[in-house]
Symmetry: C2
Subunit: 253 residues, 2 copies
C-alpha cells in the first residue's frame, strides 16, 4: 500500500456493557512522516533539556510545530507542575534557621514570567533572537506568570524563604520588569537583580554565579534555584538543589 | 457517560485516493486513568533526566509500566541515537592535536553496556537495588552493548581519540567487565578504570572527578564524557562537553 495515496482516519467506537455502540468522533491520524518528525523532535527536546545539544541558536525547522504544540499545550503545564511539586517537597524538607537568611533564587524569563505570547509572534524560536523586538515586548509588561511558579513562589514565601529574582535583563528594564511582576501576581520579593553596566557582555553563568556569590557573602544560604536555562543554575555559589524548567524555544549560554 | 461502563476501540480506516476504503485494525484505546498515569510518568522522567527529582531510590509504582515500555522500546533507542549523533558532531568539530592526548571518557553501565536484561528480572527499577544479585549478573558478562554507543565508540576511535572507561564497578569485577566489553564488541580501549580499595565508599561524583583529574595530570585533554548519571559528568575536571544518556531505572548520587 502506497502510504502517499492513502489517508488514515481514526474512528472512536464506544461499546457499553449493555451492548450499545456509540460512535464518538472521526479524526485524521498523523501521517508516517509526521510521526517520524514528532518522534525525532521528542528526542531532540530531551537532548536540549539535558544540555546534550550544547549551544544552539534556533529551533530546527522540522521541530517548529512540535515546539509550538508543546509550549502552548498541556504537556508543558504538566511538566512544570511536576517540577513545582518536587521543588515544594524539597523546600518543606529544609530546616529554616529563622534568621531571615534562608534564600531561594528565581530566574525571570520562562521561569517567573512566560514570554510565549511574544514567541508565538516570532515563530516559537525558529527565528534568530531579535533583541530590539524582545525589548519592546518587555516594555509592554504584559507577560503572564507561569502558574506553577507563581504557586511555588507563594508557598516558599509562606514557608519563610527570602526570595531573590536574578535575571539577564538589564537595569534599564527594571521599571517594566517590576510592573510586569506585580501585574502578573508576584508580591513582596526580597530583591530584583538585573545586569548593571559592569555585567554587560558576561556569559550568563558567570554573571549569575557572581551575583549568587554576593548573596552568600551577605550571609544568605541559597537552598533552591529555579530557572529554565542551565546557565541559571551552573557555575559556582550554586544552590543546594537546582530546578530546571523546560524551554525548547531558545538557549542562553 | 460512565467511563467505567464503556470500552473504547480504535478503528483505523484508510481511504485511497481512488475512493476505496480499507479497515486496518481494531485496538483498545488506553483508559482515562492510563492516560493520566502515562502523562504523569512522562513528566516524571523529564524531571529525572534533568536531575529535578534529586536523589531517588526506586521507580514510583505508578510508572513501572511506563519505564518498562520506554527502556525496551523504540523511544529509548531513538533518544540514544540523537545523543550519539550530537556527540559525533561535536567530536568531529574538535581539532585533535595529534599527540595522543585527546581523550573521551565513557561510563560502563547503561552507557557502554545495557543491563536491561537484568532489570527486566527485578521490576525495572521498582525494587530497591540488590548488590548481590547485580554482582551475580555482572559475573555472567552477558550485557549487550548499547548499539548507539558502540557505534559512537568506533567513530571516536577512527577520529583518533584515546578512550577511557570509568566505572563505579570494583577491581574484583575487572575480568568479568573486560570479558563482557569484548563479547559485546568493544575493542582497543586505552584503559578501564574501576574502583580500587581506596575508592570504596566515595560518592560517584567525587571518585569520578578524582580519576578524571588524574587523567588531566597525565596530560590528557578530556573533550567528551558520556554517562547515564549526572554523577558521571559533574564535579571537577569535567569534560568540554558532557552527554547524558537516559536512565529512568535507577539513580546514583
Amino acid at each position: 500500500m502506497d502510504s502517499g495515496a492513502w489517508l488514515l482516519f481514526l474512528v472512536v467506537v464506544a461499546v457499553s456493557t449493555s451492548g450499545h455502540i456509540h460512535s464518538e468522533a472521526i479524526l485524521r491520524l498523523p501521517s508516517e512522516s509526521e510521526e517520524i518528525s514528532r518522534d525525532y523532535c521528542d528526542s531532540w527536546m530531551l537532548a536540549v533539556e539535558t544540555n546534550n545539544a550544547g549551544t544552539w541558536n534556533r529551533v530546527p525547522a522540522s521541530c517548529v510545530d512540535f515546539v509550538a504544540e508543546y509550549i502552548t499545550g498541556d504537556r508543558y503545564r504538566r511538566d512544570c507542575d511536576v517540577i513545582r511539586n518536587l521543588s515544594a517537597a524539597f523546600a518543606k524538607s529544609v530546616g529554616l534557621a529563622g534568621d531571615g537568611r534562608d534564600a531561594w533564587v528565581f530566574d525571570v524569563d520562562e521561569t517567573l514570567l512566560s514570554n510565549v505570547p511574544y514567541y508565538q509572534g516570532v515563530g516559537f524560536g525558529s527565528e534568530i533572537f531579535n533583541e530590539t523586538s524582545f525589548d519592546n515586548w518587555v516594555d509592554l509588561a504584559a507577560a503572564p506568570a507561569l502558574p506553577a511558579i507563581l504557586s511555588l513562589y507563594n508557598e516558599l514565601k509562606e514557608l519563610g524563604f527570602k526570595i531573590f529574582f536574578l535575571t539577564g535583563r538589564s537595569e534599564f528594564q527594571r521599571n517594566a520588569t517590576e510592573t510586569n511582576l506585580l501585574l502578573s501576581g508576584y508580591r513582596d520579593w526580597e530583591r530584583l537583580i538585573l545586569r548593571g553596566s559592569s555585567d554587560q557582555g558576561k556569559p550568563a553563568t558567570t554573571y549569575k554565579s557572581e551575583k549568587r556569590a554576593e548573596l552568600e557573602n551577605e550571609g544568605y544560604r541559597i537552598h533552591g534555584n529555579s530557572g529554565d536555562q542551565w546557565s541559571d543554575l551552573w557555575g559556582y555559589a550554586v544552590s543546594a538543589r537546582s530546578f530546571k524548567l523546560p524551554n525548547p524555544m531558545y538557549y542562553i549560554p
